[in-house]
């Protein structure tokens, strides 16, 4: 016992090492939260099951870590030798010891394996009914380079960049991609699920808190993989129903977002600010309409850009990367390549006044 | 190539740890590795053989009788090369040249058959990229054909050595190495033939 202690005082390195490790280990707590995208703060049943399992492995791993690293450090301090020390006992091994340290780790692993298999089975199937007794809400998720599209077949609506779901109702995601492999990930609700061009993948979760939760693409998908984020907006069932109704109200519009019947009565026309009217004209004539629909109702074929229904009210633009302020929206429309190099949006030359008009128009789409 | 390894072997005359020549062990090792190469190609073919929305599928084009003939010829060649090796070991130059020549002819016949077959399929509308069945078929059999071609070339160099009288019994190993490779190429075909051609006969 005395020798290792002497070694400790004589050689400060190992102590420094231990100290450094403690610092690193507690650095897990020194971060400057909040952590809205954390895997450690589940807000739904699926993520909670995974989190429970993860915590089991963390505790066991920490225990094993302390024991094994402890044994190693102990051996280093205890058996420190000098060049002229006499020869030590030449031990070649021990079958008993080998069996012990084969069996014990196997048993420890069994402690991990059993809950693992249990959780695989629990999370592997989409529940037939949601905790609130309803059938799960089907949402079709479609990955694009580099944005996410969400469709609600139950309500016939489409949106992009923001997935709205009700709290307490299981969401049944059916996912695919129109181009390369992406991976859908909202850490606080579930693990990742890749999306493929030739097969549908499934994922599910039931949110138990309201709010807006960031998510990201987690499979490298090309140039702008780094900017393919989105938000999951969880609302109370009532608010969700209201949101659906608002989106469905878009059905009174053409796919272009224009009213089915042109407004002719001068009183109504007078209520529309000139700038907004100008923006609408630009939206139609500058080619925006070629790729973007302003109606959430299932858009026409050929709509290759994100659906812009309710764009005025979205939190973020450019795949979760820019706050949806007038200034940012202006920048995004005016110089998309500077905001997000390689983005597939093609914008014709426009004056600042024209862009402002477009922004004002889009802002009315709440 | 046969003599390649001979000179490379710094210790040919010295002892080896296993009762086998270095070069022979190396060829066996290489063959083991090649098994995985062909296993991957064959698996890919099996995955894609029914992917032919466009253009002909296996049942539309395969002509089993011709390929059976090619298969038989390749099978016989394995026997021929054993006889040739026997001749080489006995120092019987005539036997060596005769059987080795027959083996080479078999290889050439097989290659000819494959060229004819590819050409035929191409004219039936199955280009290399017409459909995935075609791509995986041509890739698999094409790589096998490349192996046959390399094997034939190798056997031809041994034949040339033998013609020039540079194949004494002590150098029979040079032929044995080529023969090992040749047997392997045959065995691969023995797997490809039923998997690719015979299985297409089923409904």
């Amino acid at each position: 016992m005395i020798r290792p202690l002497r070694n400790l005082t004589r050689r400060p390195y190992p102590l420094l090492l231990l100290g450094a490790f403690c610092v690193l280990a507690i650095s897990g707590c020194i971060g400057d939260g909040p952590y809205p995208q954390s895997t450690l703060d589940p807000k739904g049943d699926y993520a909670e099951m995974v989190d429970r399992l993860f915590r089991i492995t963390v505790y066991l791993a920490t225990g094993v870590f302390i024991l094994v690293e402890g044994a190693l450090l102990w051996a280093i301090f205890r058996f420190r030798g000098k060049p002229d020390d006499p020869e030590v006992a030449q031990v070649h091994g021990s079958t008993t010891v080998e069996i012990i340290w084969t069996v014990i780790p196997a048993l420890v692993l069994a402690l991990v394996a059993v809950p693992t298999v249990k959780t695989i089975l629990e999370t592997g199937k989409v529940p037939a009914t949601s905790p609130d007794g309803q059938a799960p809400l089907k949402v079709e998720v479609i990955g694009h380079q580099w944005w996410w599209e969400f469709r609600y077949p139950e309500y016939g609506i489409t949106t992009a960049g923001e997935m709205h779901v009700p709290m307490g109702r299981t969401v049944d995601l059916r996912m695919k991609t129109v181009d390369v492999v992406h991976s859908f990930w909202v850490p606080q609700f579930a693990g990742k699920r890749d999306v493929f061009p030739n097969r549908e993948t499934r994922l599910w979760f039931t949110a138990n808190a309201t709010g807006a939760f960031p998510g990201a693409c987690a499979e490298f998908c090309g140039l702008q993989h780094g900017r393919m984020d989105f938000y999951t907006v969880v609302a109370s069932p009532e608010d969700f129903t209201a949101w659906v109704a608002t989106r469905q109200a878009d059905s009174t519009l053409n796919p272009s977002g224009l009213p089915m019947t042109p407004v002719t009565d001068s009183a109504t026309l007078a209520m529309i600010p000139a700038q907004v009217a100008e923006g609408e004209k630009l939206f139609l004539t500058k080619g925006c309409i070629g790729c973007h629909s302003l109606s959430a109702m299932t858009p026409m074929k050929g709509m290759t850009g994100p659906n812009l229904s309710g764009i005025g009210a979205r939190r973020m633009i450019a795949s979760g990367w820019l706050e949806n302020t007038d200034e940012n929206l202006h920048r995004w429309i005016k110089t998309p390549q500077l905001v997000k190099q390689g983005v597939l949006m093609v914008v014709p030359e426009m004056t600042d006044a024209e862009v402002d008009a477009l922004v004002a128009y889009l802002r009315t789409k709440q | 190539m046969s003599s390649t390894l001979a000179h490379d072997d710094a210790h040919a005359a010295h002892h080896t740890s296993l009762p086998v020549d270095n070069r022979k062990l190396a060829i066996w090792t290489f063959i083991g590795s090649e098994c995985l190469f062909f296993a991957t190609l064959i698996s890919t073919y099996l995955i894609y053989k029914d992917t032919h929305a466009k253009g002909p599928g296996p049942k539309d084009i395969f002509e089993v009788p011709l390929v059976t003939a090619g298969t038989a010829v390749l099978l016989f060649s394995s026997f021929f090369v054993v006889m040739a090796l026997n001749g080489a070991q006995e120092g019987n130059r005539k036997k060596l040249l005769g059987w080795l020549g027959a083996t080479i002819m078999c290889g050439l016949f097989f290659l000819g058959m494959q060229v004819y077959e590819f050409n035929h399929f191409y004219h039936l509308g199955l280009g290399y990229t017409t459909n995935l069945f075609g791509t995986s078929f041509y890739t698999l059999t094409g790589f096998h054909g490349t192996h046959v071609a390399i094997g034939t070339l190798w056997l031809m160099t041994v034949f040339k050595d033998a013609l020039k009288g540079r194949m004494p019994p002590a150098k029979a190993l040079n032929l044995e190495l080529a023969a090992l490779y040749w047997h392997f190429v045959d065995v691969v075909w023995i797997i490809i033939f039923p998997v690719v051609y015979l299985m297409s006969l089923r409904s």
Binding site: G31, T39, G191, G342 | A53
Partner: protein, 617 residues
């Protein structure tokens, strides 16, 4: 081209360029492997530093997204194929013949060809930077992103073709070392008397031989897709992108063990020597290594849990992966068991070997966490997994390779590395390494995906990224310290005796550096730690310094140009595929020229008279 006879005996005499280009000496080839791999390693390190600088704070703008994607693709590809693998190959080349008591490998010219193919392949792949077209689809090249449709430039052509070239080098070396180890052991060296590094090399070669053909076929198919417009992996023609993932990981997982098993072997050599006690549980070590390699072929899909394979496959691959922890644990316990009760001499090689164990334990434990499929769905493709595999590949492989460098440097170059600089190197590297990679665990768990060129502020990633970047520069400094140490050793290093550490294996019985023929008298082995047995029999701690011999009567293979020429032919052959073809003319003039050069080279090589240019003594 007659070689000077006593090259090694008169170190003042410089080897000429021609000698190095035509050498078939496994030791020179080993040094060439090491030197080129170290340069590639530095390149990969510089790429890492740019990546870390970009990610230092949120919304980094140091490099463009495109260049960032090239950087991380090349960082991964370089470190795996041009760094760790050839650094291991340096030790295979230099030390396998010495450890088994042979005068060279089984096929010296094939060995030279492997070297040149590797070097040309590595240069080829890095030349892409000059065209501003470095590979940018990740080291895993997932389809369909790697298809011509989504990656139209030359970038992924460089990757597809470069990897095929490198695969040829690995396969040729695999055949060579497998044969060498099985067939060229000194008399008396049974399999169970082989040093553990020889075992790890043998098993590594088996993995190479069985896994590289799979990636070769996959790369050929991808090349066919890209060059001829086929659709093996593109959905348009009915292809399946998932097939690429399966084939890639069928290779990719064994590849992980190809990177780590040599490290196991090196550490298993160093620990006994500096513990002055034999390796604990030799046979358990052999069997656990073989078992790890075997299981390595049955766990590939644990890289694909997020693809949604279904509960059955998830369960199978989860449990199979957990099973690997058992033999891995056995190895760690046996290493600790080796130090237990020993007389630990904490010289620099031993420090790195102990550092390896300490770091590998962490990487192993996070590996078990990844085997838990549902939890892995949260961790995969985040910085948690980046932390995990760096603990295995850097904390594991690089620490062990550095340990090996300090351990074997005196034998390779005949001078010692400085102990004091070495210790500074070790502590800096240990600190820098942990500061870089430990915080990444937290960044990943807090939701930071990998392969993103920037992250937004406000998600809580800032602190951990700042720590990691600081650590990366500390690591870079430690590498500079190492280079300084090598420079000092080359300039004024203390001359190394034959046996500076009290070694147990045959390489320490011959002069440092070894003479061209390694062993003047072919050794006869009677024991597992044969040199220790000899010393014990003689009742001494160190055997007398071996005398230099004039090597009379020893035949060595002569130098040859053909391996280099064949390697150049292979390079040209593959470059030909950079040009898109139609299947009517599948082979362009460049391809045909390369093919002809290769063929001519092989025939010339085959018919090169046995004693051409040979060294006679």
């Amino acid at each position: 081209m007659t070689t000077t006879t006593l090259d090694q005996a008169h170190p003042a005499k410089r080897s000429t360029l021609v000698e190095w280009l035509t050498t078939v000496d496994h030791k020179k080839i080993g040094i060439l492997y090491g030197a080129s791999a170290f340069i590639f390693f530095l390149l990969g390190g510089i790429e890492a530093l740019i990546i870390r600088t970009q990610l230092m704070g949120p919304n980094g703008t140091l490099v463009s997204p495109e260049f960032y994607n090239q950087l991380f693709t090349m960082h991964g590809t370089t470190m795996i194929f041009l760094g760790v693998m050839p650094l291991s190959a340096m030790f295979f080349n230099f030390f396998i013949p010495l450890l088994i008591g042979a005068r060279d490998v089984a096929f010296p010219r094939l060995n030279a060809m492997s070297l040149w193919v590797f070097l040309l392949g590595g240069l080829f792949m890095n030349a892409s930077f000059l065209l501003n077209a470095a590979p940018n689809g990740g080291w895993f090249g997932y389809a369909p992103l790697s298809s011509r449709q989504y990656s139209p430039g030359l970038n992924m052509d460089f990757w597809v073709i470069g990897l095929q070239i490198l695969g040829i080098a690995s396969l040729a070396a695999g055949v060579n070392f497998f044969t060498t180890i099985l067939n060229m052991r000194a008399r008396g060296m049974t399999l169970m008397r082989m040093p553990m590094f020889v075992w790890s090399t043998l098993i590594t070669q088996v993995l190479v031989l069985l896994s590289f053909p799979i990636i070769t076929v996959a790369l050929i198919m991808l090349m066919v897709d890209r060059t001829f417009g086929a659709s093996f992996f593109s959905v348009g023609g009915g292809g399946d992108p998932l097939l690429w993932q399966h084939l890639f990981w069928l290779f990719g997982h064994p590849e992980v063990y190809i990177l780590i098993l040599p490290a196991f072997g090196i550490v298993s050599e160093i620990l006994p020597v500096f513990s002055r006690k034999p390796l604990f549980g030799y046979s358990a070590m052999v069997f656990s290594m073989a078992f790890i390699a075997f299981l390595g072929f049955g766990v590939w899909s644990h890289h694909m849990f997020a693809t949604g394979m279904g509960p059955l496959a998830d369960t199978f691959f989860s449990l199979a992966t957990m099973l690997i922890a058992v033999p891995t644990g056995v190895k760690i316990f046996n290493w600790i068991g080796t130090t237990w009760g020993g007389s630990l001499q904490l010289r620099t090689p031993m420090l790195f070997a102990l550092g390896f164990i300490a770091m590998f334990i962490i990487g192993g434990l996070s590996g078990v966490m990844h085997s838990v499929a549902p939890a892995d769905l949260q961790q995969t493709d985040t910085y948690f997994v980046v932390a995990h595999f760096h603990y295995v590949l850097f904390g594991g492989s690089i620490f062990a390779l550095t340990a090996g460098a300090y351990y074997w440097w005196p034998k390779m170059f005949g001078t010692m590395l400085s102990e004091s600089i070495g210790k500074v190197h070790f502590w800096l590297m240990l600190a820098g390494f942990n500061l870089t990679f430990f915080p990444m665990h937290f960044a990943g768990l807090l939701g930071m995906p990998r392969r993103i060129y920037a992250y937004p502020a406000g998600l809580g990633f800032e602190v951990y990224n700042m720590m990691a970047t600081a650590g990366a520069f500390l690591l870079a400094i430690s590498i500079l310290v190492f280079m300084y140490n090598m420079w000092v050793s080359a300039r004024r290093g203390e001359p190394a005796p034959a046996d500076p550490w009290g070694g147990a294996t045959l390489e320490w019985s011959i002069p440092s550096p070894p003479q061209e023929w390694n062993f003047t008298d072919e050794p006869i082995v009677t024991d597992r730690d044969d040199l220790w047995a000899q010393k014990r029999a003689a009742g001494v701690r160190t055997l007398p310094e071996p005398a230099l011999s004039d090597g009379k009567g020893i035949h060595l293979p002569g130098p040859s140009w053909w391996p280099l020429i064949v390697a150049i032919g292979i390079l040209i052959f593959f470059i030909g595929f950079m040009v898109p073809h139609t299947y009517a003319f599948p082979f362009g003039p460049i391809t045909i020229a390369g093919f002809l050069l290769t063929t001519v080279g092989i025939f010339k090589w085959a018919y090169e008279p046995p004693d051409a240019n040979a060294t006679h003594h």
